[in-house]
């Protein structure tokens, strides 16, 4: 097994959007493996790519806004992410960042990039707490992430 990085993504003061951060903190408690790095990220795109450079495998844990199935956990490969447009006002999507890096001959991009997504409702309010259905998903997300490390 090579080096793996787990990145919990989210905004810790925007309710359910912070689920990835909650998960990263939970994983810090339960995983003790020198080959596994666990970190938090508050921004996406290029910064995520910067973080995962040099690892063999990257697992991103993030929220995904969904009209239903709140709390459901999905495993996605990078190529399954929705393609993004060209005019993000502020950040490059992770896919664009990776395409760019490949084009420039970057060879430190992880061979495997997996996204573990938790379905959340549209965040509309600043708060630190998760909603009930999203909080209830934590053990399932942790289990899914641990399984992913072993995969």
């Amino acid at each position: 097994m090579g080096k793996t990085i787990i990145i919990g993504v989210g905004n810790p003061i925007l309710g359910d959007d912070g689920i990835g951060i909650h998960i990263a903190r939970e994983l810090q408690r339960v995983i003790d493996d020198p080959m596994v790095t666990i970190t938090e990220a508050y921004t996406g795109g290029m910064n995520l790519l910067d973080m995962m450079m040099g690892y063999d495998k990257a697992i991103i844990v993030d929220a995904m806004v969904s009209p239903n199935n709140i709390g459901e956990v999905k495993r996605l490969e990078l190529k399954e992410l929705p393609p993004t447009g060209s005019s993000n006002p502020h950040n490059l999507s992770l896919i664009e960042a990776i395409l760019l890096a490949r084009k420039l001959g970057e060879n430190r991009i992880p061979r495997s990039i997996i996204i573990i997504a938790v379905m959340i409702p549209e965040p509309i309010e600043f708060k630190e707490e998760l909603s009930e259905n999203v909080a209830a998903a934590i053990p399932r997300v942790v289990a899914a992430t641990i399984e992913e490390i072993r995969r």
Binding site: N11, I13, N47, T84, G85, S87, N88, P89, S93
Partner: protein
Amino acid sequence: MKTVTIDPITRLEGHGKITIFLDEQGNVANAYFQVPELRGFERFVQGRRAEDMPQITSRICGVCPVAHHLASTKALDAAFNVNPPSAAKKLRELLYMGYMIYDHTLHFYYLGGPDFIVGPDAPPEKRNILGVIEKAGLDIGREVIKHRSYGQKITAILGGKATHPVCGLPGGVSKGLTKEEAKDIQEMSKSCIEFAKKTLELFDEIVLKNKKYVDLIKSDPYQLETYNMGLVDEKNRVNFYDGKIRVTNQRGEEYLVFEAEDYTKYIAEHVERWSYIKFPYLKSIGWNGFKDGENSGIYRVGPLGRLNAAEGMATPLADKEYNRFYETLGGKPVNSTLAYHWARIIELLYAAERAYELSRDSEITSKKIRNPVGEPGEGVGVVEAARGTLIHHYKLTEKALVEKANLIVATTNNASAINMSIRDAAKGVIKNGEVDDGILNLVEMAFRAYDPCLACATHTMPGGMPLEVKIYDHNHKLLHTLRQNL
């Protein structure tokens, strides 16, 4: 096609929205720019410890964490009645230059610039950084990646973390700079100066030498004669971190100069029932609707607003570019919205030059980086975020807890102008109901030039805030929808 009632008040679901209404002839009657609301920030911060505010507010937005961090720290300086030591101010400013370098680079090459470098009528799938590289070459791509990351490294060295700094404290900073670190920053900023110069050459080559683009920049639909606002130093030169707020009029003359703490005397906010964003305007002129000109209190902030509100740049190369900017575009003020792009890269050059200066400053490695704070009270902090003037205003309790917080962010300051620019661009390019992707891009270009920050606190996949453009005919029938994952 679906019939939808004209109702710009329709609840927004997580995306920014531009709604354009056409009249019977198929020409533009009006246009609205709306962004969703994130509720409860004031309540969220109430009762929190004042010194936590620079961290909390840096989480509001994934784009400008450094700007919020420093506006907040400066508001705390004022609220605790403490003046930081000179070295601490320089360290904060150097941190800030790192942010400006990466943020302006990102916007120019990845987000706004492709409109010009690749071309306004290029297919949408080419108008991105990959298209930029195709046109400008792989080497440019490598330079972009390298210098964006230099900006972030400078921020990380000073701020403790790459994107969300933790160094700002009332009265100073928590972390000084070693000689080695200063030397590293000096090397990086020197390289950033060369990069900014190259960027300006590229702009010259691709945009300014192309008559079609220059005509587009100068064309009527992209002109807006508003007041301009920005922070200036004691010589009225652009300053991102500190100074007085200066406002110039439509003839480029000084109209107002005031201290940050007096902002409520000069700025008021207008409310429209269709928008969650309030529209700030100059109190002394008043709100006269979405109009430009001297009788309308609407002003612009951000790179173009700053250049117009100042009399020059404080570093030699950027100042030379500043003068060339006005010579080329017909004197002061420049009112073309599309000139924001050029102004932005002039500021990139300034940020790099200023970082170089600060990294060589004999005081920058000083250990005297914090002064003791006074009693908690009320304070205002202002910085120039990449997108424009950012104001934080706190009232603290005797126990230094937050009693009240008010924030005016850059995109709010620009909200009226953005709205008008979209409307005018739409009026200029949509004729007889004919709309296609190319035309819509010309409308979006007016919007993108401002580099507006939608409620970007969310980082949920797929990664940002989508923008939707909807066009309705005079019978309120939806003609076109264009949706992009932004």
